[in-house]
Structures are given as structure tokens and as C-alpha cells.
Symmetry: C2
Subunit: 311 residues, 2 copies
């Protein structure tokens, strides 16, 4: 089955790794949020793209879910000694990714081409695409004013109260080369358990993406379990926007787009309200085995929906 | 005695460290060549400035004379894995210097101010000045055409035959703030044992510097010993420019400017031709003690010339 997965950071990267274990490399295309991308020390940093690639390459830090395994911090320690900002944790190995990406972007290469070459160097078989080669920075609207995503997320630790989001430049952005084709060819599209507001919505706002998903088998996996996000500010964002953070709220978030919803066994009580096809399963992915198992549930669910024509 | 030292890379940095040992911090100003500066991975790299600062801070790699002691290469290894250029040896600790300097330059700070702050962070007491806050890149003219300095020096390993040098932008460059004042106040000026063509000449070509040295006590220390450069391409450059590489040739190089010349005991036979006051001493600096000893010879020589009025 040909699958396209839309993913943000840590949770998305884990399910993507499960899908990569379950599918042959030719059958999986991963579309990654680049709304979190930012410039730091003059370097172009793509946190979600790197988290997904490191997970797929087996290079990710298993403790944190982001960054590299066996990472060292010699550069950052010396930056701090010189008085440089150290709020963004730049590991030595990770820094090489940013440096080479920045060098190639400055030389005129597109992000999607650079990502493909990095994937080849890291031995990643499936296709990984940034949602766009154009910058579409997510702006977080808060009661303290607008903040860039990393300013909100890392520097301010998600403290300011959210009032909304803007995807700057989205209207004019073009989907990365091959993205719409991959969506058109996919027999199932997976919205990974990433933050709906700031990981999946930015991708859906790239012109052409939403339309490409209409009437297709689209499976969303809830990033909210028992009212909590496994990681990150998704639940806090729902609350501040006046919505009770539940798997049900996530399902509603994707209404009109989604043909099936996967939620955690801890949320079985919510299924009575579900107006959509759903699957209940363990969605917490503690190890690579969990990732594969969840991916298999998602794929089986998608195959069933395809067979039933119920989408 | 107030001293200003003009220095390039490794040899110059060693004598500068000796002078810093011999003098109180207030009495020493070091003026460093920035003609080798270049941009790599978008980073502003100042090899001579860093070599001098690392030597003064006790951070230098004692084996190589450049780079940092206890350096690690995690970034460079990962850059190479991604297909990035690795001809310039970027160490992890060293990279922090380039990153923070680049960040501050982009924020509008001047190189001299950044250097002063780095020196403070590294515990360096004396004043270290780049020759200019304006870029004055050394262009190496060769039989294969013009090359940027690092292209010639690192990428091409000094192989192309030299025909001359250009100091691009020198005519319009301003000396760094405080540089001419430091030269005016200095009771002795030391031309360190650095490459005359590409380390000292770039400094002398910054407008105002040559004039500030005229009629002063200027001591040059030969970087050529027994017809060889201790390190680097100085001897090869002399040969390719049709000049026999000797300490005598170095002395002639600085004629009209220099009031005293320090050459190695291995070159005692050249003293019969010396038309200038000179001192013969061991000039090879294998350890910090050697650096101090040579510095003391230079300072004593300068004090004698001052006393005699023979300059």
C-alpha cells in the first residue's frame, strides 16, 4: 500500500519510523512541517525535518526523542563561554546538519533536494519531503503579541497564552516538488500524532495540500491521550483556545478531511461520541516495537476503509 | 616598556605569548593580520586572530600551533558524511568562536569589539586588535591566476607558483580603533616572526600603519632560519619571487622601517652583510620558556636601541 504521512516532530517521527518498518521504502513518502524552521547563528535550522530524519536513520536520541544519539556539546559550551545565546540546544553532530544545509541553501540548492541528499547519506530509504521549499514560518499569536515559533516554544517555554496562529507566506508557498504527486498516488494518508495546530495545520495550509486530501483515505492518530499531550504544548494550546483538550477535540479539528481516527485505549470512553470510523489501541510508543505495532494498526485500519469505500 | 607587536599566525602567536609573559598586560598591544580571513559555511573565520588569542589564552593546541588543545571533530566528521567540504579543519571548540563572531558581526558589532569581548571571556589581559574592522583580503597572484588566501594556503596546499600579492580594499581600509594610538604610544614595535609577504605586509598596508612606524624603534624577528621557514610557505614564496630565502632577505624586506633585526644562531654567517643593528639568538620556540626568552632578548635589544638613539 502506498502511504503518505504528514508529520511534525517527536510523536510524528516515531510513527513515521513505524511506517518505515512496516512498508517497503518505495511505498512511503513523509511530508514534514517546516513551519518551525528558523535562523539561529545564521544557520537554517529545520527541527521537525531533522527529528524525522534522525528517527528514520536510527540516529535519534532515544531519551529525548529529538537530537542525536551519543551527542556531544562542545560547540555549545564554548558558545556559552563567549556569551553567545544557548537557549537552543545545538549539539555538535546536529550542528553539522545545519551548517551543510545552510551552505547548500546559500549556494542555491532547494531544501527538498538537500533533504534528499541527506537522506541518502544517512541511509534512509523512503522519501522525506519538506512541505515546501518556500519559507512558511509559523507565527504564534499570544496575549503578549506575536512570537516566532522557536521564541514561543524554546525561549519562552510555551508560557505566553495562545490566541491563534499565522502561517506566514503560506498563501504564496508552493508545495515541494513531488509532494502533490505523492499525495495523489497514496492509497492512504496518515496524519501522524503531531500537534494539530503547529505541526499538521502548517502542512495543510500549503496551497494544494488540503484539496489533495479531500475524498481520500485519511487516518489521523490522536496526539492527545487522556487529555494530555505525550509531549509538547498541544493540550495547553487547546485549553487556551477555549477547547477541552481531548482526542475528540483532535478528531473534530480534522473534520471534513479525516476518514478514520485512531485514539488511545485510555480514551475508550470518548468513542461513544465519535461520528467517524475509529480504532482504539495503545498509541504510546516507548520503543521501536511500539512504533511498528501502531503503524500496523493504522495501515490495517486504512486498508479496511479503502475496502469499505467508507471515506 | 610599552610594546606593540605585529603578528600573523603560528610563529607570531608564539612570540606574542612570550611578550605577554615578559610585559605587564597594560604595556602590550598585539596587532593581528586579518588578510587571511575568509567565509566558510557562511562563518567568518579569522585564522590569525584566533591563533594569537588561543596562544595568549593557553587554549592553543601545543602540537599544531593552531587550533584548540583537546579539540574534538564531531561536527567536521558529520559534515564530511553529508558531503560537505572538509578541507578546512573546523574543530568543535574552534567552531564556537566562528559561530559567535559571525552572529555578532551580523548583528552589527565590529570585529575589534568582538575580539575584545572574546579576549575578556578567555582571560587575556593584553589588548589584541585586528589590523582593521574593514575586510582586506589577501589575494595570492599565481601562475594559475589569482587565488583567495585560504584557497591557496589550505585547499591548494601552497602549490601554485607565486607571482605577487594584492591586499584587496587596503587603500580604503581604516585601522581598527585604537591601533594608531597604540603604535604612537609604543616605545618599541615588534614585527613578529611571521610571513613577511602575507602576515606582516597586509598590516603594513593598512593606511597609516607604515607612517606610524617611521623613525620608531622597530625590531623585526626573522621567520626564516637557515633558509627555511619554521612553518608555512615563506621560503617558497621568496624563491618563487626570485629572492634567495634567507634571514638577510627578510631584513631587506623591512628596510626603511626596521631599526633592529633578530636572527637565529644558525644564520650567524649572514651577519657580516648586515647593514642594520642585529642580535643573534636561538629563535626557535619549542616551549613557553623559549617564547619568554626570545621576548626578553627582543625587549632588551629594543631598550638598547632606544637608549642609543640608533634608530
Amino acid at each position: 500500500m502506498k502511504v503518505a504521512a504528514l508529520a511534525g516532530g517527536v510523536g510524528g517521527a516515531k510513527l513515521v519510523d513505524g511506517l518505515a518498518q512496516a512498508l517497503s521504502a518505495d511505498d512511503l513518502t513523509v511530508v514534514v512541517n517546516t513551519g518551525d524552521d528558523f535562523t539561529h547563528y545564521g544557520l537554517q535550522i529545520c527541527p521537525d525535518l531533522d527529528t524525522v530524519c534522525y528517527a528514520l536513520a536510527g540516529l535519534a536520541n532515544p531519551e529525548t526523542g529529538w537530537g542525536r544519539a551519543g551527542e556531544s556539546w562542545n560547540v555549545l559550551e564554548n558558545l556559552a563561554q563567549l556569551g553567545g545565546p544557548d537557549w537552543f540546544r545545538l549539539g555538535d553532530r546536529d550542528l553539522a546538519t545545519h551548517l551543510e544545509r545552510t551552505r547548500r541553501l546559500a549556494a542555491g540548492d532547494r531544501l527538498s533536494r538537500i533533504t534528499a541528499d541527506f537522506c541518502a547519506a544517512w541511509g534512509i530509504g523512503c522519501k522525506v519531503l519538506p512541505m515546501s521549499d518556500d519559507p512558511v514560518p509559523t507565527i504564534v499569536c499570544t496575549e503578549e503579541g506575536e512570537l516566532s515559533f522557536q521564541e514561543y516554544f524554546v525561549a519562552r517555554k510555551c508560557e505566553p497564552r495562545i490566541t491563534g496562529f499565522r502561517f506566514e507566506g503560506a498563501a504564496k508557498a508552493r508545495p515541494a516538488a513531488g509532494l502533490l504527486e505523492a499525495l495523489a498516488q497514496a492509497e492512504a494518508i496518515v496524519l501522524c500524532p503531531s500537534n494539530p495546530w503547529v505541526s499538521i495545520d502548517p502542512i495543510l495550509n500549503v496551497p494544494g495540500v488540503w484539496d489533495a486530501l479531500l475524498g481520500r483515505v485519511v487516518i489521523a492518530v490522536s496526539p492527545i491521550i487522556a487529555g494530555q499531550a505525550v509531549k509538547g504544548p498541544a493540550a495547553k494550546m487547546y485549553r487556551e483556545l477555549g477547547i477541552q483538550p481531548t482526542a475528540y477535540a483532535v478528531a473534530k479539528h480534522y473534520r471534513g478531511l479525516m476518514s478514520g481516527f485512531v485514539l488511545d485505549t485510555l480514551d475508550t470512553d470518548l468513542t461513544s461520541d465519535m461520528a467517524w470510523p475509529y480504532r482504539v489501541t495503545d498509541t504510546i510508543m516507548n520503543d521501536r516495537g511500539d512504533r511498528l505495532r501502531l503503524a500496523e494498526v493504522v495501515l490495517e485500519f486504512a486498508a479496511g476503509l479503502r475496502g469499505s469505500g467508507d471515506h
